[in-house]
Structure formats: structure tokens, C-alpha cells
Amino acid sequence: MVRRAHHERVLMTSPNPPEMRTTVDFFLHHWLNIDSLTSRSRFEDHSRETFSAVLDTAEQIAADKYAPFNREVDNEEPRTETNQDGTLRVVLPRATHEAWAAYAGSGMLAAAQDYDLGGMQLPYVVEAAANMFFSRASISISWALLTTGNANAIMAHGTPAQKEVFAKNEFAGRWAGTMCLSEPQAGSSLSDIATRAVLDDENDSLGPRYRLFGNKTWISGGEHDVTENIVHLVLAKIPDENGKLVPGTRGISLFIVPKFLPLPVGEVARAFSPARDAGAGEGKTAVDKDSNVAFPHRHSVPPLPEGEGKTRNDVVLAGLNHKLGWRGTPNTLLNFGEGKFKPLGNAGAIGYLVGKPGDGLRCMFHMMNEARIGIGLAATMLGMAGYEASLQYAKDRKQGRPITGGSTSSPRAEKNAEQPPVALIEHADIKRMLLAQKSYCEGAMALLLYCAKLVDETHTGAEASAAEAKLLLEVLTPIAKSWPSENCLEANSLAIQIHGGYGYTRDFPVEQYWRDNRLNMIHEGTHGIQAMDLLGRKVVMEGGKGLTLLATKINDTIQKAFHIPELAEHAQSLARALQHVGAATKSAWSTGNPNEALANAVPYMQAFGHMVLAWVWLDVALALVHEARVDTRADQQVVGAGLTALSESADEARLIPAFAGTRLPADGGSFRDGKLAACRYFFAYEVPKIEAWLAVVKTRDMTCANISADAL
């Protein structure tokens, strides 16, 4: 795991100064005060130093192994070749293999795990922040987050043997993971899946062993040779005593279906013993166990000897999906149990039951908040990539002349053709499009990091605080996933617009960002499903407790902002928006008819999301204004504001002296100006949309719901 591009980078000045990092550091340390997490026992070995070192490593690997190959993995779409035995294999660019090796070798896959699992007990919020750099550099070159998600589900619901064999190898980067949910006839509607699981041996050492038969589609990373083995997590139904599949989601169970069957448990330990591991890396035998060199060469572990643990399971690639974007990740159709291979003598894909029969959905969706925050971050980082590219382009590209002339008595616009052309960024409309992107993407980033910190709160906070964070996440997660998917996609559209015709060509990166981002409104729960989840469940559950809690948080920010002259007007707008959302929620459900209430769930979610983002921006602005005041007093006290109040006590803050020394970046003036302008933009241009969206919700407008199919 070396840094090939390092040499070149030393020799030339990078075109991209690390500006996003400044914003990330500001959100993490100033606004969210994540350094307070180090006072909790799980994170007590950490400090701001270790958090920064993780982000440094992520930034470096992303710059060396991801960003330079983003276009290549788009151009060289995965393709299949036929093996000698007639099965298909997926061919991927070399860069894809190297990106995986660098990511896995860095320890990112296991970052959040316990030390004894090779992890660093990293808070989720820092892990999420680190992953942002990879997403921004190339969203599709790696599907590592699927592997982490897969291993996490096994850690939560698997048997000790399943954790030892499957999760550990995934965290170490030897094996990759997938999530197999959809089937050709069952996409969003999982209750209709038809994959059958028939009991084979109740007493296998890896858990009750079943034979699976069926087809799965949309499986990212379903087939490749980037890793030695692939661990499929598969939803399937166990037939009842009459051989029938139970309708609905209750009959769904979760299975581990590995591409190659692992060794019997006892022998696994031997095969992956430290001695074998040490021999694999170059010259590592001379080094003691505690030294630093155990991990870097992990990816060079040779495959198991032929025959040993190489029993091919009866799961084969049926074909690839050819996608609009996100092309670096192979997306597959898989056939289970078609008899191509006969593991242990019979046809049928061998799968080991995870958790209890019928408990599959709960096990699979165990970390749904994290998964959805992950999608939101992906959308946000694609937005950021487009913003940065179009900002650079607008500074470089000279086109057109400034408008001159005109007066109140004779309004007209003139241009002086004698003048040299100016950079695009000199034009007001270009600036509008840049500021729009900035407000969408940085605002979304702030929201997602806030949600990520709530996840840490649910795991490590005191009981009441953890319960509160959990409730708040219930309401915010649909927004965290869907708001960036829609609005940062719009940001990508504006990035293309700024480039003009060039943006529409493949000579510039922005069209790819847009294509890649278009997926995010579709996967991990479509836009429509997120909206139904929000209005149909989240805001009404427990008598609207979650919505009430969110309103309390928003009101806290409003109260603080009222006292700041430059923010008081925004505070008023936000208070109005909150009232409208509350009223619309009531009106939507006032007839108690879900068909009427949910007919306009998406406009409701759009309005709700804008209200949440307005809140986030106002709170960020509060932190900046506080910061300015602290600066003018030449005082270096903790300046965490509004949202951070969730968990921090004054005592906790005092424990973190490192935080006291942190300041705004060198160019503090323009950094602050930019953030405050993005906040103003959001309130002036976006917040007014809230009322318009809510109008149809409040009146329960049935124009769409009632139109007949024939009339369309």
C-alpha cells in the first residue's frame, strides 16, 4: 500500500487547495464540538490529534488512489468475460483493485470496531467525515461501505462463528460484502420476494445451513475478483410446512451466502493464523508483533491454496446492469441455486441463517440510519465535487463583459465591447449558481455530520441523551437521505450550467457527477418511500413526539438567533416555516385518511427538508457570529453553539483544552463571509418555497391521486 502518485504531487502544486477540509474541520470542531466525545470511555484514547490524523490519511488516499481514476472507471465500465467452466467473471480496471487495497489497508473498513478486531474505536461522526473525502474523489471506484454495512449486520446478529469467519475477514479487507434484497419482480416491495431457502443441516458450525434458490438483481459488487471471496447477505423466505412462501415481510429471513465456502470453523483459525499472515507481507517475519508494519501489506495476502476453502458455492453471475452513472461499481444480477455448482454434492446455494427465521428485515436494516446517512453524504460529496469544479472553471474561463450604463431615468444595460472579457465569476448569475451550490452542499454536509454525531450519541451518550438522539434521528434520517439526493443533484445541474456547452461534454467532470448523483434519489429507499416514511410514520409516531422534539431544537436556535441583530430576521422566517410545517402536518392528517394525507408526501418532505436546512444554516451562522465575538475579545473560549447543546455540559467542554486553541482558518474573513452569504442565500431564495410546497399538503389536494390512468 504505497502512494504511487506521491512523487508527482511533491513536484507540482496541486490545483485543489484543501478547502473542503477547512469547512469539515469547522463543522466538526467548532460547530459540533466533537472533541467532547473524547471524554467518553469508548473514545478516551482519542484526541483531536487522532481525529485529524484519520482525516489526513483519508484525504491523501482519496487524492492518490481515487480522484485520478474517477473518469477512468466511468469510461471502462465493468464488462464480463467467460471463464473456462462457462461462468462469467467481471473485469475491472486496475485502479479499482488499487483503490480497494489502499482503503482496506488503511484500516478504514474496521475504523469503528473494537481494538481487538483491528479497529480504532473511532466515533461514527469522524468515520463519516473521513469517508466524505473518498466519496468526493470517486463515488463509484469502491463499494467498501457495503462491506462495512454487511459486516456490521453480521456483528449485530450473527453467531460467534459467523463473526469470526465472515465479519473479521471483511473488516480486514480480504473479503467484500454485498446486500441482496431486490428481485426482478420485487424492487421497493420486498414483501414480494420469491427466493426460497430450504433447510439443509440444522447443525452446521456456521449456523443453520439452508439451500437457496432464486434470482437477485441490483446487487452492487455482486461479482468481481478484487477480493478473495464475496459475502452475500441475502433475503429469502423459508417455505411453511406445505411448501408455500408466507406472503408479506414476516416470512423473510436473512442468510450469509459466500461465493466460496469457508473452511470448517476449526481450520479457519489455522488458515489465518498470525504466522501465515506474517509470512505474507514482504520481510515481515523479522518484525515483532507490536510494531507498525502488520497492516500495510494486508492486501497482498495470497489466496488460499487451491482446494483449501475454495469450494465454489452455487451462486453465479447472470449478467451486469448497464447504468447511467456510478459505473465504477459493478451492478449485477445473481442466480442462486441454478445448479451450476454442486457444493457439498448438491445443487442449491448454501446459506447460513443469520438471526431468527422471519427476522430478516430487522437484521438487514439494523444500521439503516447509518446507511441512509451514507447515501446522503454520497449525494452531498458529488454536489461538492461539482461545486468545486464549477467554481474553478468560473474563475478561469473568461467570457462576456460587465454590464454598464443605465440610470433610474433611463434603465438599460450596455456593454463596452472594447473592454477585455472578464472571468465568468464576475457575472451575477454565475455567482447566484455558485452560491446556490454552496448553500445546498455545505448545508447538507453540516446536517449529515450533525446526524452522524447523533448516531454516536445513541451509542455512547447517557441514557436520556441517547434516547433523545434516537428519536431525533428517526425524524431526521429521511431528510438526511433525500434532501441531498434531490438538492445536491440540482447543484450538479447548476455546475453543468456554469460550464455551458463544455459542461455537457465528457471533456469536463461535471456531467459525470450529475449522472452519478442521479442514483441517490432511487436507491436505499426511493424519494417517494422516504416521503411516506416521514409523513406516514416518523412525524406521527408516539403522538408526534419526534416532531415535537425537533421543534424544540429548532426553537432553541431561533431563540438564540433573535438576540443577534444580523440573524433576527432569519430567526423569524424559520419560526414561520416551523409553524407552517406543524400546521400542514395536522391538516394532512385531519381527515385521518392516509390516502389523502400521503397524496402529497413528497412536497411535504421537500418543505420539511428546507425547514431543517434553514435551521442548520441559522445554527451554523450563530456559531460563526459567536466566533467573531470571541475573536474580538481575543478570548479563546469554547464557542460551540446551538445544536451542540444536545450533549455537552460545561464540564465536558472544559475537559477539552485542545479545543480552546482552535481558530478560524487563515483567511477567516472570507471563510466567514462565504458561510454567512450561503445562509442568507438559503433564507432569501429557498425558504420562501416552503409555503408553496405546503399549500397542496394543507388542502390535501387530490389532483394527482385522483387522475385516472387513462387520462394520463
Binding site: 502512494r3 484543501p18 477540509r21 484514547d45 484500516g107 478504514m108 515481515k284 507498525n292 482558518p665
Partner: protein, 249 residues
């Protein structure tokens, strides 16, 4: 064999530096700092020597402000075993650093000191050579390949027009060039391990070294902006301009 690796904290190579308004130097307030890339290569080389069994202990040493600790932690995350910080707020010039390093060498008695050939901030390219002179050791500079054979180091050095392979008796000084290796990343588990490694802090006075600057910086300026080109009518005009305006022929 003990190996000493001096590492320098410099402005990150991604940062576009600006000259201070009063021309007294480069503005480094609140700018991202990281380890000098040539020093990273030096650490990596030492770690590889240890992996090969040629080295037993790697000591990273840095001189400068308190934040150099971060640079030392980074070196330890790459694989150094412990760190020494010589803490001072005084501006350090190459001779002062060489004297400090000599004092550390006298204490630690390493067989090999591997330094970056130069730092990307001042590009001085002096410290390694000065240290060799102060110690009276052999030196192999601009190394692109290092092999330890018993009591000698066989080092391939980059010289004008090619490569020169020399043999130096240990103890010796090696300075690294870009092609020597590709440094590994600081992995997450190793970042945590580095945090627990020993880091000692000394003051220049503890080592009996006077670090007072010997050189005075008079003025720092940005390179002149490139002027736009001109089109010439024909070859004769070009020759004329080269001869009389540019005065290069």
C-alpha cells in the same frame, strides 16, 4: 542497528503560500502543516530497513515549535519506534539544526542517520551535509537506493547526468531523493499505536547548543509575474530581440 530519522514540519505541499505584507517572510499562520515529503521518504526507508532486519530501532527527531509533536506522531504512525522533540520557538537555520542533531547523535549513538535531502519550505539542502561534517562521518546524498551490507552502506546516488553507486562505512549520513521509495500511509491502527509511543521533549539548552540565527533575512518577495509574450514578424526580428533585449545570444 539504531537509525535516527530527523523530520521537519513544513507548510503542506498543497498550500499556496503567500508572502507577508511587510516582506519579512512567508505567512504560515493557520496554514495547514505536514511532514516534509523528503522526510517521509526517510522514515519509510528506515522502516523498510527494519522490516528487512537491518535496523532494530528507529528514532524520529524533530526540532521546532511544540506542534512538531504532530509530525513526530505521524513518523511513528509510519513506523518509527519513538520520538524526540527539541522544542524551541526560535527560527531554526540549517547549521543550528545540524548542531542539535549532532548532540542527539552523541546521546543516542545511531549507526545511520537518514534525512530528507532538503525541505520544501526553504529548499536549503544543507542540513545532512553539515551534520556529516560536524560528526566527521561519511555521507551519501540524494539516495535512490540503499543496501546495508555488514558494516557498510551501498548507496545509489542521483548525480547530474546519471546514477553513482558508492559504498560508505557506517556510521554514516544518507539523504533521500524522491525515487528512493514510496512512503506508506499512516494506517488507522498505527495512528493509535503511535499515540502510545514514547515522545521525549528537550530544549536546545539541554543539548548545549546555541541556536541563534546566524543569517538575517532581508526581504522575501514573490517571484515576478510572467509577462505576456509578443509576436515577432520574422526570424530577423527574433534574433534582434534575443540579442539586444533579452541579451541571451
Amino acid at each position: 542497528m539504531k537509525v535516527l530519522v530527523p523530520v521537519k514540519r513544513v507548510v503542506d505541499y498543497n498550500v499556496k503560500v503567500r508572502v507577508k505584507a511587510d516582506n519579512s517572510g512567508v505567512d504560515i499562520a493557520n496554514v495547514k502543516m505536514s511532514m516534509n515529503p523528503f522526510c517521509e521518504i526517510a522514515v519509510e526507508e528506515a522502516v523498510r530497513l527494519k522490516e528487512k532486519g537491518a535496523a532494530t530501532e528507529i528514532i524520529a527527531v524533530s526540532a521546532g515549535v511544540a506542534q512538531c509533536q504532530e509530525t513526530l506522531r505521524n513518523a511513528m504512525a509510519i513506523g518509527a519506534d519513538r520520538g524526540i522533540l527539541i522544542e524551541t520557538d526560535v527560527e531554526l537555520q540549517p547549521l543550528a539544526v545540524a548542531k542539535l542533531l549532532k548532540a542527539v547523535v552523541d546521546r543516542e549513538q545511531p549507526q545511520l542517520v537518514i534525512l530528507g535531502k532538503q525541505a520544501i519550505d526553504d529548499d536549503a539542502n544543507q542540513t545532512g551535509q553539515m551534520l556529516a561534517a560536524l560528526l566527521g562521518w561519511g555521507q551519501a546524498t540524494f539516495a535512490s537506493k540503499v543496501e546495508i551490507e555488514g558494516n557498510t552502506a551501498k548507496v545509489t546516488c542521483e548525480v547530474d547526468g546519471g546514477l553513482e553507486t558508492i559504498s560508505v562505512k557506517l556510521p554514516a549520513i544518507i539523504t533521500t531523493d524522491l525515487r528512493l521509495n514510496e512512503p506508506r500511509y499512516a494506517t488507522l491502527p498505527n495512528i493509535m499505536k503511535a499515540k502510545k509511543k514514547q515522545l521525549d521533549t528537550l530544549k536546545p539548552a539541554d543539548l548545549g547548543v546555541d541556536v541563534t540565527p546566524r543569517l538575517t533575512t532581508l526581504k522575501v518577495e514573490e517571484p515576478p509575474k510572467r509577462k505576456g509574450g509578443v509576436k515577432v514578424a520574422d526570424v530577423a526580428a527574433l534574433i534582434d530581440k534575443l540579442k539586444n533585449e533579452a541579451k541571451v545570444i
